[in-house]
């Protein structure tokens, strides 16, 4: 159990890292992109905008 927990912890730290809100924001932005595409909008601009917003907000939180 201990090994399983530390293995899960390793993957969480590896992928999600210090700011889980970045990971959550990426998932939300891509879900919105997928939804827009299925509504007929070629939303190629949404992921880059999400990157600017998520990085900026995360750096701002870290600076506090």
């Amino acid at each position: 159990m201990k090994h399983l927990r530390s293995f899960a912890r390793f993957w969480y730290d590896f992928v999600v890292g210090d700011d889980w809100r970045v990971a959550a924001g990426v998932v939300v932005a891509l879900a919105a992109t997928w939804a827009l595409v299925h509504l007929g909008v070629n939303a190629w601009w949404l992921p880059p905008l999400a990157v600017i917003a998520l990085l900026g907000l995360s750096l701002r939180r870290a600076r506090r």
Partner: protein, 247 residues
């Protein structure tokens, strides 16, 4: 993406991981017993090879759209994490990763640990320390190789990039027998974070059904744009007063 861009990206990313693994092996070898540290490293390489053999063919069977969405999402999260850390370090808001300090810490812990061997291993502590270090850093290398290689349908080139990185770091480590503190790790992390974020944006959006203007040429805009974004954040973080940013 050209095969050489794939090679370069995988090479840089894997080099960062290999430097960290080397620090642990050197601490286990110098502080305890070289033979056991080498045994631990070799056992770990075998375990990693088995992992690649098990996961590699499975990744190939996933449809490309799904693969790009999943891999792109992971790369984007992972890349933003690297970029964020590299920007914070460059702005002086986070301590630079110091391989000398990490080495000294591991060495002190290795020297203080109890002695004793098991089976054919003379020093069990040195064996497990190097095994765990190489396996964990190696898993990160495997992740990078599989995601980049599978998304570009060029696993051999990704494997070549990773192998070259590991051999370069191992060669340097053998030559100097000391932690590679002079490797500009933050610059490498910045470059890798930029590449991972750019490819992550590109693949995840394609996986979600987006058609990029200019198709693959969009990457030629995305990569420099992400680099400029990261570089632009560094002076802003350095100069802005904390109260203003905290508002």
């Amino acid at each position: 993406m050209s095969a050489w861009v794939l090679f370069g990206t995988v090479f840089l990313a894997c080099m960062v991981e290999a430097v960290e693994a080397l620090t642990i092996i050197l601490a286990a070898g110098t502080g305890r017993h070289w033979g056991s540290a080498v045994q631990g490293t070799l056992a770990s390489v075998v375990a990693l090879a088995a992992t690649v053999a098990a996961l590699g063919p499975a990744v190939d069977r996933v449809p490309l759209g799904t693969l790009r969405l999943v891999v792109g999402t992971l790369l984007l999260i992972f890349g933003l994490q690297w970029l964020r850390k590299a920007v914070l370090r460059a702005a002086g808001l986070k301590a630079l990763h110091d391989e000398d300090a990490a080495y000294a810490k591991e060495l002190a812990a290795a020297r203080a640990a109890a002695t004793g061997g098991r089976w054919a291993v003379r020093d069990w502590y040195a064996f497990t320390l190097s095994f765990k270090g190489v396996f964990l850093e190696g898993l990160e290398v495997v992740f990078i190789v599989l995601t980049f290689g599978a998304s570009q349908h060029d696993l051999p080139m990704a494997v070549l990039g990773a192998t070259a990185a590991v051999l370069a770091v191992a060669g340097l480590g053998l030559a100097v027998r000391a932690p590679l503190a002079r490797v500009p790790e933050n610059t490498m992390k910045f470059a890798v974070g930029t590449m991972l974020t750019s490819f992550g944006v590109f693949w995840s959006a394609e996986g979600a059904g987006v058609h990029w203007p200019g198709s693959d040429a969009a990457l030629l805009v995305l990569v420099p744009a992400v680099a400029v974004l990261g570089l632009g954040c560094v002076p802003l973080l350095r100069t802005a007063p904390r109260e203003e940013l905290a508002r």
